[in-house]
């Protein structure tokens, strides 16, 4: 954003050759006419603030104190109320003529017209006041100077054409008159050549003032944007978490129950049917075994999504279930009091179960140590195995997915895995999202 503004109103001239620069500031160039039109269009708006205030006093100048104070207050209020439309017209002008976009300021632009008056403590309001009542008039003077330069230049440069009408002191010294006309013409040409530079300078000053005084403060704007993005991200993460839970519930209520029922019926058939041909019985037995395997697979899949016990009893309970399923010696220590937000718990659960899956798949370890501790507002998850090490976070999709999920809640992910081991995965998560 900053660079765009810079290009529009500032001086991106450093990289441009003097010749190009001179050409750009030629009296006939587009940029010159745009600058002139821009600064000229600002004049009525820039004088408007004081004009509105002064208008009341041209009608009536009271002599007594009370009406004096009343009139002063009224004119002041009128000036302040005019600030908002003036500001938005100024922004429109910048956008229409320079393509320069100046964002709105919530403290100043939002709410009813008189809200800006109540926000008098806001720096935004004071910057706007500064533009319209202090800087603006100077800019208008600059703009008038620009116009005067153009006009004086034009009059003088063409003075030869009406030289006959000009007074000359001595009818005998025609040559002196001619010299004077020549000098004046030359001066006019110089003014015409100078006018574009004046116009550009005033345009630059005006645009800069508009951006810094009528738009939001860069730092404040960025801060707001960060807040906004953080909020959006949190809601996206929460939505994803909710979706995972929904899928888990759907699978649990649907496919899983059906499969159990199918396996039950096959089991019943297997045990109770008699007089079935051997081949048919073989098919039943195979189908029964398949159904049971499918159940196990589905169960593992669902549990990886979002176990009900996590919501219900917290990380300790959920993780002991995970640890028990790992065919290794797992030392588990979970101390999370008070509980973290449910999204963060879900991430911590995912981290441990993914890390353990990785250990089983790749580490050739015999023992794993898992600790999940709450330290203030941070949830620290450490998984250490005594395996062969050499885990590459850029290699496997497991570790990348893990890191990504941790980052989604603003957590940090570190892995230390020298060749020969041990491998330690350390994850820190903010407890509240």
């Amino acid at each position: 954003m900053g660079t765009r503004h810079q290009g529009q109103y500032g001086c991106p001239m450093a990289s441009i050759s003097p010749a190009r620069r001179a050409l750009e500031h030629a009296p006939w160039s587009r940029a010159t006419w745009r600058d002139t039109a821009f600064v000229a269009s600002g004049v009525p708006l820039q004088f408007a603030g004081w004009t509105i205030g002064a208008a009341f006093w041209t009608v009536w100048i009271p002599v007594n104190l009370v009406p004096l104070v009343v009139l002063a207050t009224v004119s002041l209020l009128a000036m302040l109320l005019a600030l908002r439309p003036l500001t938005s017209w100024q922004r429109e002008r910048c956008w229409a003529m320079l393509g320069l976009e100046i964002s709105r300021m919530p403290d100043f632009d939002d709410g009813r017209p008189w809200d800006a008056l109540r926000n008098l403590r806001s720096p935004e309001v004071w910057r706007v006041i500064r533009y319209h009542l202090v800087v603006g008039p100077f800019l208008a003077v600059g703009a008038l100077t620009t116009l005067a330069t153009w006009m004086a230049g034009a009059f003088l440069a063409t003075c030869a054409s009406y030289a006959w009408a000009l007074p000359y002191s001595n009818p005998l010294s025609l040559s002196a008159h001619a010299i004077r006309i020549g000098v004046l013409s030359g001066l006019g040409v110089l003014l015409l050549l100078a006018a574009p530079w004046v116009a550009a300078a005033v345009r630059r000053a005006d645009a800069r003032a508009a951006v810094t005084l009528l738009g939001p403060d860069r730092a404040a704007e960025l801060e707001r944007r960060v807040e906004d993005l953080a909020e959006k991200r949190a809601s996206v993460v929460d939505a994803a978490d909710l979706e995972r839970r929904r899928i888990e519930r759907d699978l649990h209520d649907g496919a899983q129950q059906r499969l159990v029922s199918l396996a039950l019926n096959l089991g019943l058939a297997r045990e109770t049917l008699s007089g079935v041909p051997d081949e048919a019985m073989q098919v039943i037995i195979e189908a029964h075994e398949e159904a049971k395997e499918a159940l196990t697979e589905l169960r593992n899949l669902i549990r990886g999504l979002h176990p009900a016990v996590l919501e219900d009893r917290g990380l300790d309970a959920a993780l002991s279930g995970v640890a028990a399923r790992v065919p290794l010696e797992v030392a588990l220590r979970v101390e999370v009091e008070p509980r973290a937000s449910s999204t963060v718990e879900a991430v911590a659960y995912f981290v441990v179960s993914e890390a353990l899956t990785n250990v089983v798949k790749h580490a050739r370890a015999s023992a794993v140590e898992v600790t999940v501790l709450r330290e203030g507002d941070t949830l620290r998850v450490v998984v250490t195995d005594d395996g062969v090490g050499g885990a590459d976070p850029s290699g496997g999709t497991g570790l990348t997915g893990l890191a990504r999920r941790v980052q989604s809640v603003d957590g940090t992910f570190r892995i230390s895995s020298p060749a020969g081991g041990p491998t330690t995965v350390t994850v820190e998560l903010p407890c509240a999202l």
Partner: protein
């Protein structure tokens, strides 16, 4: 034997009823949520109740909570919890009241009809039936007590005891002789500092010690 079923999936409820009735059980009532279960138990006084853990309205652990109420109100009614996932924490809750007449199995186990019916009969007769997966979870969480002194083999034996198996059953499962099992059990009793008493009572104590963790 009279059974009450609480299972919210209509399909599975029908399957369970069919399974039990073809196997000679009497299904006194089959309901879809926890409140109905408590009412049915009060009304029918069955020998055992088969209870799904996850039921309406919350779909979390309604079954476990209903089972706990049942244990208090009607301790003579055995409870067999069924769940898509076994959780050590739920088992600990359930077993904290008493270890007789309770069971906790993965729902998948109903597919192995005879094993499931055995477990049901065992629970109804006042025994325990814990899913091997629950047992391994419980073992994992009980590192830091006298159980640490047990050898891996002894832990296996103890786990099978917790599942409710007899010495012969344990011997069959581990493919060892019954006398070897008895030796292991004696060693377990010694390591857990269990007082001398009648065999079965000590057995229960060992299982209790095993289950009595940081619940």
């Amino acid at each position: 034997m009279r059974i009450v079923i609480a299972e919210d999936s209509v399909l599975l409820r029908a399957g369970l009823i069919k399974l039990l009735e073809t196997s000679g059980f009497e299904v006194a009532a089959a309901v879809g949520e926890a409140e109905g279960l408590l009412a049915a138990v009060r009304q029918h006084r069955p020998d055992a109740a088969i209870v799904d853990v996850r039921m309406p309205p919350g779909f979390t652990d309604e079954g476990v909570r209903a089972a706990l109420v049942m244990r208090r109100e009607a301790p003579e009614v055995a409870v067999l919890l069924l769940s898509q996932f076994v959780e050590e924490r739920y088992a600990a809750d359930l077993l904290s009241t008493s270890t007789s007449g309770v069971g906790y199995l993965l729902k998948d186990r109903v597919a192995d009809v005879s094993v499931f019916l055995d477990a049901l009969r065992r629970v109804a007769a006042g025994g325990t039936a814990l899913d091997p997966e629950v047992v391994s979870q419980l073992l994992l969480r009980r590192h830091r007590d006298p159980l640490d002194r047990l050898t891996p083999r002894e832990k296996e034996v103890l786990a099978l005891m917790a599942e409710g198996r007899s010495n012969a059953g344990i011997a069959g499962a581990l493919v060892v002789s019954e006398s070897a099992v008895a030796k292991h059990i004696n060693s377990i009793f010694a390591k857990l500092d269990l007082p001398h008493a009648e065999g079965d009572h000590r057995r229960v104590l060992a299982v209790l010690r095993f289950l009595d963790g940081d619940t």
